[in-house]
């Protein structure tokens, strides 16, 4: 026996795709309805089971082959044309892509350059397979590791209880200075959080950006500048950023 609102909103609820009002209403319902709670728990467990299956990374041979083609084609360093040929793509690959938003409006001077730098940092960490200098799920191990390596102490918080476990940290070199990179995990994805002194005590709200298929969240708090980068979907990364900002 499951109730009507759950029947309608089960998927968007477990996928964090419900609007805040519907989500609050549904949460309220779940508090009083054990059978719907069970349905939600089953769905969440199913998700965990699916994510426990082995990931298939690209074989080295394929990567080498594609890289070689890129170099032969001379496309590797070509300056991008601002999407003038979108119509061509739509015809040639069948459906085209619904372009949903334009998100590169920079809110602070230098923010756009900074955003490119943090995305580069994220990509480097994935491609070089170098996510950690210190691998630990214990914030009391990760935090002291930065002592003596940076001239500031980055706040380190574990969010395992919310489904975003801390998995480690490393030093990253961004825009000419060493910064702390904290690594969290969600599904099969890493979230890199870069932290350095903001140079101002003013707190900001979370800015939402996307670059090159990666999502970025940026905020300032307690004199620190935070940049969270991941290929994780928008909704969950926002959820993560809010959770971290609240700590």
């Amino acid at each position: 026996m499951i109730c009507e609102d759950i029947r309608r909103d089960l998927e968007p609820y477990v996928d964090r795709e419900l609007g805040p009002e519907s989500e609050a209403a549904l949460r309220q319902h779940l508090r009083t309805c054990p059978s719907c709670r069970r349905v939600v728990a089953d769905r969440e467990n199913l998700g965990r089971l699916v994510r426990s299956t082995p990931y298939h990374p690209a074989p080295q041979r394929l990567r080498a082959h594609v890289s070689a083609r890129v170099h032969r084609s001379g496309i590797a360093w070509r300056v991008l044309l601002p999407w003038a040929a979108a119509a061509m793509l739509a015809i040639s690959v069948g459906g085209g892509i619904a372009v949903v938003r334009s998100t590169r409006g920079a809110q602070e001077p230098g923010a756009e350059r900074m955003m490119d730098a943090v995305v580069d940092g994220h990509v480097r960490s994935l491609m070089a397979d170098h996510l950690f200098d210190v691998q630990s799920t214990d914030q009391h191990t990760v935090k002291p590791w930065f002592l003596g390596r940076l001239d500031y102490a980055p706040p380190v918080t574990d969010l395992a209880a919310l489904g975003y476990p801390l998995v480690g940290g490393r030093l990253e070199y961004l825009s000419g200075r060493p910064v702390a990179a904290l690594v969290y995990q969600r599904h099969k994805h890493a979230i890199n959080v870069f932290v350095w002194p903001a140079g101002t005590d003013r707190a900001t709200t979370i800015a939402v950006q996307s670059v090159r298929g990666f999502h970025v969240r940026h905020w300032n708090r307690d004199g620190m500048s935070f940049w969270a980068v991941s290929e994780l979907n928008d909704a969950e990364l926002t959820d993560f950023a809010y959770a971290l900002q609240q700590r």
């Binding site: 998927e11 968007p12 996928d15 795709e17 089953d42 769905r43 467990n45 199913l46 998700g47 089971l49 699916v50 994510r51 426990s52 299956t53 082995p54 298939h56 990374p57 690209a58 074989p59 394929l62 990567r63 594609v66 890289s67 890129v70 496309i75 360093w77 070509r78 300056v79 991008l80 044309l81 999407w83 003038a84 040929a85 979108a86 061509m88 793509l89 040639s92 690959v93 069948g94 459906g95 892509i97 619904a98 372009v99 949903v100 590169r104 490119d116 580069d120 990509v123 491609m127 969600r186 599904h187 099969k188 996307s210 090159r212 298929g213 990666f214 290929e231 979907n233 928008d234 909704a235």
Partner: protein, 174 residues
């Protein structure tokens, strides 16, 4: 607009493209061919790419490459038997239930997922494993968001009933 190339923008998503292709095709060899072809296409249309859409864009091209390949194969065989749009039923041997029971949970889940029809399988993979939003999945699969949602619902229902059949209690992982 920064002077970033294919290598910086598209290649970081190669693992994800391969994983998605592997789930679409069901084997390494096809997945490798599909991703390779897709990358060649992607290079050709690179100029039309918006940076912030790189991941979904590459998925879309991988998907289209796979579907045109299936269509070609089907024409070659003159429609005889091969229906790549549905998961091919497998011959499980004399007692599939008993065999399934002995397997580790992960293998059971993988198998159950592999046997789902591809339109359900792909939305589940894109959502649960690749973490795409409904909007992104809709653009990759070229269907409305409502369809993404209903495919997820039906796909998950099927998956969980297969799993419940193969083991009386679904074990918790993680």
């Amino acid at each position: 607009m920064p002077a970033l190339g294919f290598e910086e923008i598209v290649l970081p998503h190669l693992d994800a493209a391969f994983n998605y292709a592997r789930w679409l095709t069901g084997n390494d060899a096809d997945a490798e061919d599909v991703v390779q072809d897709a990358c060649v296409r992607a290079m050709r249309f690179f100029a039309s790419l918006r940076h912030d859409e790189a991941r979904a864009w590459l998925f879309t091209i991988v998907r289209n490459t796979w579907y045109s390949r299936i269509a070609k194969r089907r024409r070659a065989r003159d429609g005889a038997g091969l229906d790549g749009l549905d998961a091919e039923p497998r011959d499980e041997g004399p007692d599939p239930e008993a065999i399934l029971l002995q397997r580790r949970t992960v293998d059971r889940v993988r198998e159950a997922l592999e046997q789902l029809p591809v339109e359900f399988r792909e939305v589940i993979v894109l959502r649960e494993i690749e973490g795409l939003s409904y909007k992104e999945i809709a653009s990759v699969a070229q269907v409305p968001i409502g369809t993404v949602m209903s495919r997820l619902a039906r796909g998950r229902d099927r998956l969980s009933s297969v799993l419940k059949r193969s083991a009386p209690v679904m074990e918790r992982v993680q």
